[in-house]
Amino acid sequence: MSNSFTRTSGTSVNDTSILDTPILHAEGLTKRVASGERQLTILSELDLTVLPGESVAILGRSGVGKSTLLGLLAGLDTPTAGELSLFGQALSELDEDGRAMLRAGRVGFVFQNFQLLPSLSALENVLLPLELSPRAGEEGTAKDWLNRVGLGERVTHLPKQLSGGEQQRVAIARAFVANPELVFADEPTGNLDPHTGATVIELLFSLNQQERTTLILVTHDHALAGRCDRCLRLEEGRLVEFDPSEVTA
């Protein structure tokens, strides 16, 4: 069931957007960190181009450097070497604040551990990116989004009063509320049981499709990857394209 869904949607999106300029482009991306005495190369000379509207899955074992890559792509961190541009803007030309301003309102995030602020209600958590967006919306928008993820009745609840799946749904609403062009998701089902994970993924993909957002999804779940337009595997610091239907998880 999931496979057919991905195929059809993926193809259509791909067809309409193939001529657009890439929303994200990385070339020769390298990340080395100091690990005790020696240098640890996590990413080496990695290339990646993502077009608007695409959904891209990045797979890899735990500890291979997926989160590190995501951090670089979102401009949260700087590469040791290589060029990276986001929304057509070279990130190396920007300082940390410049990169933050570039993200504001245009990039959404979903994290493995949800990252909801514990002292904020569901609604307040969703409002957070709106407050920083230049296209600042109203509380109504945030409530709409909570409705769309099926939590319209839980707006005043604090994260600790919500289950893991519900918390991740709040996080998804938060990722989409500012109407972003690009959504990063780092193992969004990693902390959820398989059934809950499946519903959360369903939600993520359907919203992504409705909003025509570009999605970059990091996961170690092959089934999940199969629903994306393209699948890439991170191995020894580089990305390798593969067809998930050829590998059985």
Binding site: G71, A100, M101, G105, Q115, E124, E131, L132, S133
Partner: protein
């Protein structure tokens, strides 16, 4: 960008009000503001009240006095400057009724009198407040004249060549102007009757005064003219210089209050620093997430600054409100020393309060808060990426800098501020070491307790918890021990020290002073008490004189600035003459007048110059050498005088030139008559004088007092016991006021405890969770926490006892010259009381933590 930042900040603050660290921050700021504004409000009111009282005491904002009438031109100049004038004439004269005569001090007032305040006068229907002087044809009299010349309301009294009707008995005059001899009873009359008395004659000693009232600007405008008048020999007094000095007790209280208030601010600052650490830790995630969603560093700074500024503003308002209430309470506690009603509180202290809150926030929280700005967005992906906490050195130096600034602001002196700061740092470092040693010793002792009951177990575990947070624990230990020490000192000074001091006085220390014994009564009085008294000092002759020149200059210009308002210059001094150094006096510099002889050939007027103005100036040739005098060392130091300095005294109607030839040290608590200035025999005898003596009258002999009073109505008897009682009252009131502020200091200390608790919350929850997993019940965990704080209290109490014992020992040895004694009660009450207080408070404050513990142990299970 601004609007969303503001909105975010506002929302954040609203949500945060639930968080314990924000509450701790808020409470600490409120306390800092309350303590500082309470004292600032009080001192501000006191200051303005004193200014006003000065005007009332002087009789006006500007008072001119000379021995001849003032020129119309001068009057016009004063009026033009914007002053309202009132004329007054003072002279010493005789009044008579039937065959009785009495010398009185006449105060002749006009219809404008008094500018300020009211007189308390019995006009026939009890004492009432009267805002005028006597009408023409009438006189108001001192109650003493009732006995002295048998005057009653309604009687006619002869003054000079006229008769006036007694229409009032003066209880208290509105002002204290125009009294050159407070020994003579007062008679007040209207200026309309002055001419008819015929008392103003060339050669008679008359003072003409203009009392002028008006705004400070009016007086300022006249500065040049006043300087000129001074040079012409006119006595000029104005409120800007003649502010009355606070009584010693009140002045001490003022500085104690100031120091205690700043101690509260300091403690609150420490609480702020501790709470901020937790606040920042709690907000690192928010900051990282906001960074991730696109917030710039500036926006982050704005958001958190706005939040905290909002918090500080709210705290300032609440704190200032508490400050206003507190100062009202202070005022009531100190009411006995405040002879006046103070003006309403002003607005200035409110600004001071806000400034204090901001300064405390910036100084004690600033460096820690900057950590929020430096947070990396990557933290959302990698939890462990927390920005480094600021170095302890940075935090401490910024806090010291800001606190030093506050000290400067409040004390108004940079040297004092620096001294207090450096001294404070030194004392704190020493105490830090002593406290650490004491705590280590105590904790080792606890661990050595035999294993046994649940309580010892709780104590051992509580002790271990305290040991694990030694730095924070030590900070609280110092905060509490200093507070308890200050409280103990207050109680000791009020009780123990005064009692001990009194007890060490010889049993025959004089308990009565008799003053105003007329030369003719001298022998009679001596005989009357001889059989009853146990010890009596000799009779000292006493003459009153005012210092009118120092080395030829007006006294006010010749002394250091801070001595200008000294009572010794404002009032007449009691002068005496003695051939020998009096008992209890010691010459510390120069020579006693042995061998000095009054020049036998010098005529009566040769030593003196005639009352200025009325007689022609005596030419320099005929001036005799100045009279040698001996001055009390303390006064000489205060006035900046040394051997060889020349003083001119106005005595009776003469000016007497003197030269300081010796300085004396004297024992003020001997309860013997003591004199600032002593003349050699042969100079003062010709002036009107009375005698003073002191004696010890045992309780069983006090029956002779009524007899004594009726036999010598002019003699005043002062009971030393009553004066000591007053001293005790004063001490009680001052210490109450200081205690009130110390209460605030204690609260600030508790806010440190609360802040430390919030800072250590996660760790504590983790510990309690573990204990629970290992099988500790609710009761056990509760006991362990109680034990931890009780131990903290015990250690603070012990340290406080050590400090208090040391401080009293020093006071005993150096101030009272007594062997120090051990205060066993101190060693019991302080540690046990502190253990109980801190134990109970800490236990109560950690209540919500205990409720969290089950959740924490669940979390531990999940971790495994």
């Amino acid at each position: 960008m601004k609007a969303p930042t503001l909105r975010l900040a506002a929302r954040g603050l609203k949500r945060d009000l639930r968080a314990p660290d924000v509450r701790a921050l808020f409470i600490a700021l409120v306390l800092a503001v309350a303590a500082s504004t309470m004292i600032a409000f009080f001192l501000d009111r006191l200051d303005r009240g004193l200014e006003r009282q000065a005007g009332q005491m002087l009789g006006g904002d500007l008072v001119l006095e000379q021995s001849e009438p003032f020129s119309p031109e001068l009057r016009q100049a004063l009026i033009d400057a914007g002053l309202v004038l009132s004329d007054q004439v003072d002279l010493v004269s005789m009044i008579s009724r039937e065959d009785r005569f009495q010398s009185v001090s006449l105060k002749v007032v006009d219809d404008v009198y008094p500018h300020y305040g009211v007189s308390h006068v019995d006009l026939g229907e009890g004492v009432e407040e009267v805002a005028s002087g006597p009408a023409a044809g009438e006189a108001w009299i001192d109650p003493r004249l009732r006995e002295l010349v048998d005057l009653k309301l309604g009687d006619q009294v002869q003054i000079g060549q006229t008769e006036l009707r007694v229409s009032g008995i003066i209880e208290r005059e509105a002002d204290q102007s125009g009294g050159f001899s407070s020994f003579n009873p007062r008679v007040m009359m209207n200026i309309a009757d002055l001419e008819a008395t015929g008392l103003v004659q060339p050669g008679s000693r008359v003072e003409f005064e203009i009392l002028a009232a008006g705004p400070p600007e009016a007086v300022n405008r006249l500065d040049d003219r006043l300087a000129q008048l001074r040079r012409e020999g006119v006595e000029v007094r104005d409120v800007r210089q003649d502010r009355p000095q606070l009584g010693n007790a009140l002045e001490r209280a003022e500085s104690y209050l100031g120091i205690a208030g700043l101690a509260a601010v300091l403690l609150a600052g420490v609480a702020v620093a501790m709470a901020t650490r937790r606040y920042v830790e709690r907000h690192l995630d928010t900051a990282a997430l906001l960074r991730c969603f696109g917030a710039t560093q500036r926006q982050l700074v704005h958001i958190f600054t706005l939040q905290l500024a909002g918090l500080a503003l709210a705290a300032s308002l609440l704190g200032a409100l508490l400050g206003v209430l507190g100062q009202a309470l202070l005022l009531r506690l100190l009411s006995a020393f405040l002879p006046m009603s103070l003006p309403a509180p002003g607005i200035m202290p409110l600004w001071l309060g806000m400034l204090t809150a901001l300064a405390v926030l910036v100084g004690f929280a600033g460096p820690t808060l900057l950590r929020l700005k430096r947070v990396s967005a990557l933290k959302v992906l990698r939890r462990e990426l927390d920005p480094l906490p600021p170095s302890a050195w940075l935090v401490v130096s910024v806090a010291c800098g800001v606190f030093g600034g506050l000290l400067w602001l409040y004390s108004g002196s940079i040297t004092l501020a620096l001294g207090l700061l450096l001294g404070g740092i030194m004392v704190l470092s020493v105490l830090w070491g002593v406290g650490a040693a004491l705590l280590a010793l105590l904790l080792r002792g606890i661990q050595a307790l035999p294993k046994g009951g649940e309580w010892t177990q709780a104590l051992r575990l509580g002790g271990r918890q305290l040991a694990r947070r030694r730095q924070a624990g030590l900070g609280q230990l110092l905060a509490f021990s200093i507070t308890f020490f200050a409280m103990a000192m207050i109680v000791l000074v009020r009780g123990d020290l005064l009692t001990t001091w009194e007890a060490q006085l010889p049993a025959d220390t004089p308990n009565y002073f008799a003053i105003n014994i007329q030369p003719g009564e001298r022998e009679g009085f001596d005989a009357a008490i001889a059989d009853s008294v146990e010890a009596q000092s000799s009779l000292y002759p006493m003459v009153r004189g005012r210092i009118t020149a120092i080395n030829g200059q007006p006294p006010r210009e010749a002394v250091p600035e801070e001595a200008r308002g000294d009572n010794a210059l404002r009032r007449e001094l009691n002068l005496t003459w003695q051939a020998e150094v009096p008992e209890g006096n010691r010459v510390v510099a120069g020579e006693w007048f042995d061998g000095w002889q009054a020049d036998a050939t010098a005529s009566e007027t040769a030593y003196s110059q005639g009352g200025s103005g009325w007689t022609a100036a005596v030419d320099a040739e005929s001036q005799p050498p100045p009279v040698p005098v001996s001055m009390e060392d303390g006064l000489a130091q205060r006035l900046g005088l040394a051997l060889g300095d020349q003083l001119t005294f106005s005595i009776g109607s003469d000016e007497v030139r003197t030269k300081i030839t010796s300085l004396r040290d004297l024992n003020w608590d001997s309860f013997r008559p003591n004199f600032y200035v002593i003349f050699p025999p042969g100079v003062l005898e010709r002036y009107g004088h009375s005698y003073i003596t002191a004696f010890h009258l045992p309780k069983e002999e006090q029956g002779i007092l009524p007899e004594l009073v009726s036999e010598f109505p002019g003699v005043s008897l002062l009971n030393v016991d009553a004066i000591l009682g007053q001293v005790r009252d004063v001490l009680t009131q001052v210490t109450r006021a200081v205690e009130l502020v110390l209460g605030l200091v204690l609260l600030a200390g508790i806010s440190v405890l609360y802040a430390a608790l919030t800072a250590s919350r996660p760790v504590r929850a983790h510990e309690s969770g573990l204990l629970r997993v290992f099988g500790a019940g609710n009761r056990m965990i509760s006991r362990i926490q109680g034990a931890e704080f009780a131990l903290l209290g015990l250690a603070s109490g012990l340290l406080a006892a050590v400090l208090a014992e040391l401080a009293t020992a020093v006071l005993y040895m150096f101030l009272l010259d007594l062997p120090p004694r051990l205060h066993i009660e101190l060693w019991l009450v302080l540690p046990l009381g502190a253990a109980l207080l801190i134990g109970v408070i800490g236990h109560a404050l950690s209540y919500s933590l205990r409720r969290q513990a089950p959740a924490a142990s669940l979390g531990l299970l999940g971790e495994a």
